[in-house]
Symmetry: C5
Subunit: 320 residues, 5 copies
Amino acid sequence: MFRILEIGPDGLVQVLEGTEHVGPPPEGFIRWIDLEKQCEADLTLLAERFKFHPLTIEDCSHFDQRPKMEEYSDYLFLVTHGFRLTNATSDPLETLELHTFLGEHYLVTVHAEPIPALEAVWNRLKGEGALIRRGVDFVCYLVTDAVVDSFFPLLDDIAVQVEEVEDHVLDGSGHVELSDIFRLKRLLVQLRKVLSPQRDVFALLAKRGEGWIDQRTAVYFRDVYDHVLRIHEWVEGTRDLLGNALDAFLWSASQRTNEIMKRLTLLSAIFMPLTFITGFWGQNFEGLPFESDGLMIAMLASCAVVPAAMVYFFMKSKWF
Amino acid sequence: MFRILEIGPDGLVQVLEGTEHVGPPPEGFIRWIDLEKQCEADLTLLAERFKFHPLTIEDCSHFDQRPKMEEYSDYLFLVTHGFRLTNATSDPLETLELHTFLGEHYLVTVHAEPIPALEAVWNRLKGEGALIRRGVDFVCYLVTDAVVDSFFPLLDDIAVQVEEVEDHVLDGSGHVELSDIFRLKRLLVQLRKVLSPQRDVFALLAKRGEGWIDQRTAVYFRDVYDHVLRIHEWVEGTRDLLGNALDAFLWSASQRTNEIMKRLTLLSAIFMPLTFITGFWGQNFEGLPFESDGLMIAMLASCAVVPAAMVYFFMKSKWF
Amino acid sequence: MFRILEIGPDGLVQVLEGTEHVGPPPEGFIRWIDLEKQCEADLTLLAERFKFHPLTIEDCSHFDQRPKMEEYSDYLFLVTHGFRLTNATSDPLETLELHTFLGEHYLVTVHAEPIPALEAVWNRLKGEGALIRRGVDFVCYLVTDAVVDSFFPLLDDIAVQVEEVEDHVLDGSGHVELSDIFRLKRLLVQLRKVLSPQRDVFALLAKRGEGWIDQRTAVYFRDVYDHVLRIHEWVEGTRDLLGNALDAFLWSASQRTNEIMKRLTLLSAIFMPLTFITGFWGQNFEGLPFESDGLMIAMLASCAVVPAAMVYFFMKSKWF
Amino acid sequence: MFRILEIGPDGLVQVLEGTEHVGPPPEGFIRWIDLEKQCEADLTLLAERFKFHPLTIEDCSHFDQRPKMEEYSDYLFLVTHGFRLTNATSDPLETLELHTFLGEHYLVTVHAEPIPALEAVWNRLKGEGALIRRGVDFVCYLVTDAVVDSFFPLLDDIAVQVEEVEDHVLDGSGHVELSDIFRLKRLLVQLRKVLSPQRDVFALLAKRGEGWIDQRTAVYFRDVYDHVLRIHEWVEGTRDLLGNALDAFLWSASQRTNEIMKRLTLLSAIFMPLTFITGFWGQNFEGLPFESDGLMIAMLASCAVVPAAMVYFFMKSKWF
Amino acid sequence: MFRILEIGPDGLVQVLEGTEHVGPPPEGFIRWIDLEKQCEADLTLLAERFKFHPLTIEDCSHFDQRPKMEEYSDYLFLVTHGFRLTNATSDPLETLELHTFLGEHYLVTVHAEPIPALEAVWNRLKGEGALIRRGVDFVCYLVTDAVVDSFFPLLDDIAVQVEEVEDHVLDGSGHVELSDIFRLKRLLVQLRKVLSPQRDVFALLAKRGEGWIDQRTAVYFRDVYDHVLRIHEWVEGTRDLLGNALDAFLWSASQRTNEIMKRLTLLSAIFMPLTFITGFWGQNFEGLPFESDGLMIAMLASCAVVPAAMVYFFMKSKWF
């Protein structure tokens, strides 16, 4: 489904629909062509009108590329990733992959599903022609910046979860499951897999001022690069903390079991001398003074004193 | 066993057989010579006809090279690796090693066993002369790309297995064996050993547009490089997850044993007071009121109440 | 809240207040403008008077940037971080973020809260005009150096805590909590997140003598760079030691529980033979010589000797 | 003990003995001087005749250098390491250190003990004058290649041992000792300490075609470099696997102990109810119906049924 | 306390004392000024006479710098570290920090405490004027080389301790304490903190032949660089081994406790059936054949046979 945002030399912003407008803009015009839910036919159309390289067209039909930047003679091809947390428990992290063709006078964005960040930029640009007049590279900046910034609520969300896990592990309340920690680890692995190539892409965009990105716009990409770096460092630090939380979780789960066993063993130990005492007087030796009331009282007393003494000793030794 | 694919200046594709055609093609022709199950005599023939360097010929007789690219004055020598999962339990990963000589007008591929990916390219080229006309470097791209792409089903297969292991570890169903995890670890170590030099090879091919690879073909090698990178990152991420799975497996196996012991100890603890009670009334003190029915009923009651209370307490404390 | 320190060509230092003096200094003058608790209006004023880039102005309104250095056509934009330990248990490390604009004749510092290190430099400069005359880059050095040096008391503080943790873990006195170790780990992760970009910033400042930093001042920045490196290495070394302390803590906590269980099991083992002996003579076989005084004495003796022998054996085997 | 291999312009190979021939060869001649079991006097002689730098002479008297390449004005000084497995249990890895001086027309090799690989090259060259005629750098290649290739049988040997350890750990047969794993770890640490500088040496030799190594010979050193890289990756992969094997070993040894304890505790648990039953009827309450044959049969039955039921339950729960 | 070694153009070596000779040497002379136990006044004197940069003078008053090399217009400023093992248990590693100013005709060394290695060089130079005539850079090499070589006895000492720890851990003799391992870890962390910047310093000295270091002397610094590299690799390898030793120690300590518990549990298990047997015949059922001598003998037999059979079974299963 194509939609086109065009600004003419007169600064008038127009929203065009229909495939007949797909193609490089006329002289003096700037075009942003957005293709959502791309099908085979759409891509063929793009290839025809823009002469895009077969490899990039092929990339656009499989949405499982890693972030990258490839320079072609006529355009720059970018793949960037955003993320969205979903409620699905099986795979809670939905990747929003955005393919961008940045030409001299046009920007073509291809994505499988609606990307909220891109939508926001679209609507903002519809109203503000001045922003588009700063060049397609600036529009490209706006879009990729919005995609990268959509990471931050995600990070906050994960941070809260990691902190919860850590707190629950430390207070030993048992509200954490091993699978929670594994889910978070998996999330971080997935994020890291995307972030390190994404970092490289924006480092290149920030530097390569000459060529496709204007020097003035490169400053903005430097800013995006900085955000990606910050996210990357956050992920590394969080991985570290989560690794510790996992260790502590495993340990405290084992420790909990051990603690229970220790208490049960304490209980057994307390009854052990009692068993001996009663066993002793359960013998059938005729020589034993079974009729002595004094001994019986001593027996009764020791049945009370021995366990009490043991409990006192255990408590003093902090064995409980 | 040699087989030769030749295209003349007239665009006619010919399949030649027999050792007399082994050698550089005539002026204007392009040749792809494929040598399967190489023997000493075949390699000597190649060395004679093409003047290949003794070191490269020697490499071709031992199929245990690491991926590499070596430039010689007349040709480029490439070693790339593909993989195939086999059913053998002892060594489930079969390496498909491909040695390639890329000259100006010829491509020589040497391999010990039939490589399905190469076979597919061969058959495709037999029918499409146009593809060969784009140069031997493009044919070289087609072959190496096919070899690299044969990694992906393998990765999917491993991914499924890792996920299964992880799930089984987490649900504690005990369907995992330590040897399963070790087998997967070994697989990943083996993959990584190949992937990091392979990555370097394709990075070089993608950059060194001048020389042996045409600028237009280098774009395609950049694509292959990207795939190798993606595989590499996948392997790193999977190693990370598998390491966690191993930790969790070892822990949960220990934990399972501990849990059982805890329950058994609980059982012992419940019987401990009973042993004391019956032991107490098993004493032979004559002073004890053995004929008291009230005490007997109290004894009987406590034999029921004490364990019940303990079970209640343990359950409330979530010790079960 | 703006405040301005100005030195004229006559070497006279003046402290100006009020927004009308905010702006580049007159010819021959040098100005340091310090903005604390910045509000929207203040930043707008700065943007107007100094023509600062919108991105840097935006950065100044969110105090969660990572340390960085950005070059603009008219000025250098620096973000550096200091730290302060607070008494708050929840988040004991307060970040002091300092944003600096270094122009040819002016220095603008923006921060949210009062920074003691900056305050000290301000007061020192108020008295010593000579220091300011060495150029704004030197003033910038004084400020950033003071911020970095404010790390050291923090490090000493953490070092003492880590050592305490380690000592308590080793002597097994149980004065450590898992949460203490986690708090320290978190501190180090936070420090590291700041230090590695900060290191890069000062490396750049130390090298880029030409341009914004005078060659003579660059020597001083090299010194700051060296301090940052030292802090960085300290953090790495401390992380290593803390990781070991964590391992040892978890182990010694488990070990303590195991030791107690071992002793309880020893106790049970000692009573086991006694239970057998008394049980034996508790049997009702009429054939057993219950009236033999010799056996009774033997029984009494073994009730004393057997546990004594076991205790002796256990002690000799160092099982206690 | 010196021995000298000389080839004249006429292609005649001569083996010279005696110290009078030690020194640079006459015009048009090429010399390989091999010094085994060097003593102070020999080194002084070398220093005098060849004007070797005092530092390199000093290096030759202590055979504990790390692999390195040093360029001097007249010659290249190389230190390379080979290895040999010995039967000694204390230190099973014997280092064969080879010091090489590569001049324009001469090669001087110094080593403490006979190196089999070097011996083989010596004997081969004695017969093949043509090989020496390719220059001293080629002779140098032959020697260092032989030394590096002597790693491979060692690797195979270690690989077999690691695999055995892993297999024994996995099948739990208990044929592994902790000290076996430590010995292998120590071996790998030792190998790695040598391999990473050795890799750098050969990388330099492979690149620096101009100067001491001819372009044609540099191709051969590239091959050696590749072998060293392969060994290095092998060591890294093996370290990884061995680390896992260690984890699994420690775990399975603990697990074995735990398993035994679990079974013993199962046994105790089975007897616990029996103790209660017999204890119950061992009481002296007169109210208890001791003369009831029905109860006695019930008692006897429960002594059989209760443990049987427990064993059945434990087996069903897979607690055994 | 200053002392000065001066050599004139006539090759005469003189030892001067007194502060009046502190300063650059006269034309044609070379001076090494050594300052031990520096005080404020001494440093001020140095700053005055040599015009040293305030930053370097400030560095000399705090002996806690990291190894570094800083180039100033007139001289090179070096900080290098040596180590000495002390008998103090609290902090067994004493750092010997040496600050060196290397000018064109003078060398100034500043240190807090007497450094044996430096003392040895001083005495050697007093006698050998020829060595000083090779230039101050060579004197600088002699001093720093001596400082670095003083690492080696330290390393041997640590190596012996690590090996002892490892052996004791493996033979399970219990002669190791956790604190021993921690002390060694701490030593290695401290060494590493110094070694990695020291390595960089000597790499720079070895390369920067032009400038302050003569090409001929740079060769010697290359040698020192090599030694530092060797020490660095040694530390890395030892850290690895010590990490394994720590794991094994923690495990074997736990394992020892577990072994004891296993044996105690075995003991309990052996007595369990006996308790049942005696308990059985302790019942008061009148139906039981208490007067049967055959059963009594069977009872007595089973009291002997059952435990014997169990011990036999446990031994056969290698449960002991």
